[in-house]
């Protein structure tokens, strides 16, 4: 990784002073500083691929929804040809928002200020009182359309970037794509959103959520201790030796681009369900006994068409269940044990949209498979809402921690305190692991989060 200092802050600090590559420490100041935040808007949110939603949110021609890339409002629109476009929600005439609606359907977006009109693909259509040519004669119509982002659909997820000639989404995901395919591309009909995303405000810097999403498994034991104190993971052995800790064993995948996945061993669940030692069972038997979350035994058929044998092996053994995608995404594909001994899945994706150095918008999409039977869909959605997002009994404890960290980072002393990532894997891939990428076995460590910060550092110190 190149050793650049990056821009200097007003007080003379260089970006490179904020990250100690040897000690794996990051200055807390990064979590509250306005200048750093502004640079991030340009060098991170202005440069890389960002997740904006799922195409099932805009199924019909003309459907559109308002979303944000960093602090910029954008329109995600499906044009008359059915193609998805992402364009800046700013009128090229005088900067009014083109739409003030959260979503809708139209083939012509008309600005309410002076009436300039644009097609559902963002192209300029015209301005009122045509004979007066009020858009002027200095620029051709082709120059007057909405600013368009580069768009890629992956597993139905809508991604966009302002970096028109930069790396492809595939290059951006790199080795980790092999794993994300198991989540987003496993079924033939594909995923769909259960509804629009929950959206709420957390008074915290977006990175408090981002760095945690890069597979911080360790906090579960303490911050989510209540899971070990009551309910389905509870035990008399106390927290540390609890079911919870056992449920956490597996492997972690990390990436030079800051992506991360926690692959958790299904053995104990399979034993519970089948009474058999997983080693006695074939990959298919395991997948049928404990299908990927959101899928039924029947739906498992799909997997044999969509996945490679190596992927199937991992899905039946240690599938990715939670993790992050750089910079501000967390995914959850959870196998949740029910009182009746069965397992019900929860599928969710969140983005943490920056709203200033000490504010983020928590956006929570809940997913189901298009093929999931209706009553199971209902169960999944209700379970997801109860555990994740706005009223999530698990995630509210996370999102309530971030504001405290952000406050800590404001103090003249606290800002010079550091975030530490010094628990280092010494294991390597599980024996016989067929997947690519940086993989380590055993109890969670800090590597995945450290790789997240290293990529942050790389982007923040990159030449313009």
């Amino acid at each position: 990784m190149t050793q650049k200092t990056g821009r200097r802050l007003a007080d003379g600090t260089a970006i490179s002073d904020l990250v100690d590559l040897e000690m794996r420490e990051v200055k807390l100041r990064t979590l509250s500083d306005r200048e750093i935040y502004d640079i991030e808007q340009e060098k991170i949110f202005g440069k890389i691929w960002l997740l904006l939603g799922h195409e099932s949110e805009i199924p019909n021609k003309g459907d559109f929804m308002q979303r944000h890339m960093g602090e910029d409002s954008v329109i995600v629109s499906r044009d008359r040809k059915g193609e998805v476009h992402v364009m800046l929600n700013v009128c090229p005439h005088r900067g009014m928002k083109i739409t003030t609606h959260e979503s809708g359907n139209t083939n012509v977006h008309t600005c309410i200020y002076h009436g300039w009109a644009f097609k559902s693909d963002g192209d300029f259509l015209g301005s009122p009182v045509a004979d007066q040519c009020m858009h002027g004669k200095m620029r051709g119509k082709e120059e007057l359309g909405l600013t368009k982002a580069r768009v890629t659909l992956y597993g139905g997820l809508v991604w966009a970037t302002w970096n028109i000639n930069g790396p492809s989404l595939e290059e951006f995901l790199g080795d980790t794509k092999w794993y994300y395919d198991m989540l987003y591309c496993r079924s033939k009909k594909g995923l769909e959103v259960a509804g629009p995303p929950q959206r709420f405000i957390i008074r915290a810097n977006w990175k408090t959520a981002g760095e945690q999403s890069a597979a911080d498994g360790y906090h579960t034991l303490t911050l989510h201790r209540w899971l070990g104190e009551m309910g389905n993971y509870s035990s008399d052995e106390g927290t540390q030796g609890s079911e919870l800790a056992k449920e956490m064993l597996g492997a972690e995948v990390s990436s030079p681009h800051g992506h991360a996945l926690r692959c958790i061993d299904l053995a104990r669940k399979i034993v519970k369900l089948t009474g058999k030692d997983p080693s006695e069972l074939s990959v298919e038997e395991k997948l049928r006994a404990l299908p990927p979350p959101g899928m039924t035994s029947e739906m498992v058929d799909d997997l044999f068409e969509t996945m490679t044998p190596e992927q199937l092996e991992v899905m039946a053994w240690m599938p990715p269940q939670v993790g992050g995608m750089f910079p501000n995404i967390i995914f959850e594909f959870l196998y949740l044990p029910q009182p009746d001994g069965t397992v019900v899945g929860s599928l969710a994706l969140h983005t943490y949209v920056p709203k200033g150095p000490d504010k983020l918008e928590f956006t929570n999409w809940i997913f189901v498979e298009r093929d999931t039977p209706p009553e199971l869909k209902e169960q999944m959605i209700q379970q997801s809402v109860q555990l994740l997002g706005t009223s999530g009994m698990v995630e509210s404890d996370d999102s309530d921690t971030w504001p405290h960290m952000t406050l800590s980072a404001k103090g003249a002393q606290g800002r010079n305190s550091t975030l530490k990532y010094q628990a280092i894997y010494e294991t390597g891939k599980p024996e016989g692991w067929p997947g690519p990428g940086i993989v380590n076995e055993g109890f969670t460590k800090d590597d995945t989060q450290w790789h997240w910060w290293k990529y942050w550092y790389e982007l923040m110190t990159a030449e313009d």
Binding site: E102, R225, Q382, T390, P403
Partner: protein, 184 residues
Amino acid sequence: MSETTFSVYQGLGEPVAIGAEVYNQILQHYYTEALLLDNMKLQEWGSMLAEDLVYTVPMRHTLDLASQSKTVIRTVMHMDDNYRSIMGRIMRLCGRSAWAENPPSRIRRFVSNVQVFNTDKSDEFSVINYAMVSRNRFDDDFFDLIPCERHDKLRKVDNGFKLFEREVIIDQALLGTPNLQIFL
């Protein structure tokens, strides 16, 4: 009175006049509910819930005037609970480690605009009421506000009423309070 013919009363039964005995009892019920919740007496509040409870907080969307009917989103909601899950929440919140509400927020529920309606069951009543909920945490020098319109169903029992349905219509598309680990 005529307002029963207004569109906002569609589907509701005969109104119970303000001042009628059952109206006053229901008003008292709401004041008791607020006092219990505001003082973190969650289990006692739980005793006022019916086992067939359906408790939801839909999302809101900002849409064109012509689409007002679509601004209440009930596919994915902010809260989507039933008796079992609410009791689970209470157990968690009364435990040692529900950090999102431990230390608890200081909350106040100002109940007003209470309107009661008969239903086809003589012991069940529909209630539309407003709650202005103020919430303060830690050293915040401001309050999160959660003004809302509650559509409730109450069932008369020997010693009072039990809530068996609540839908809370909130007034934000982007919720301004950091979580709903509280009851509205």
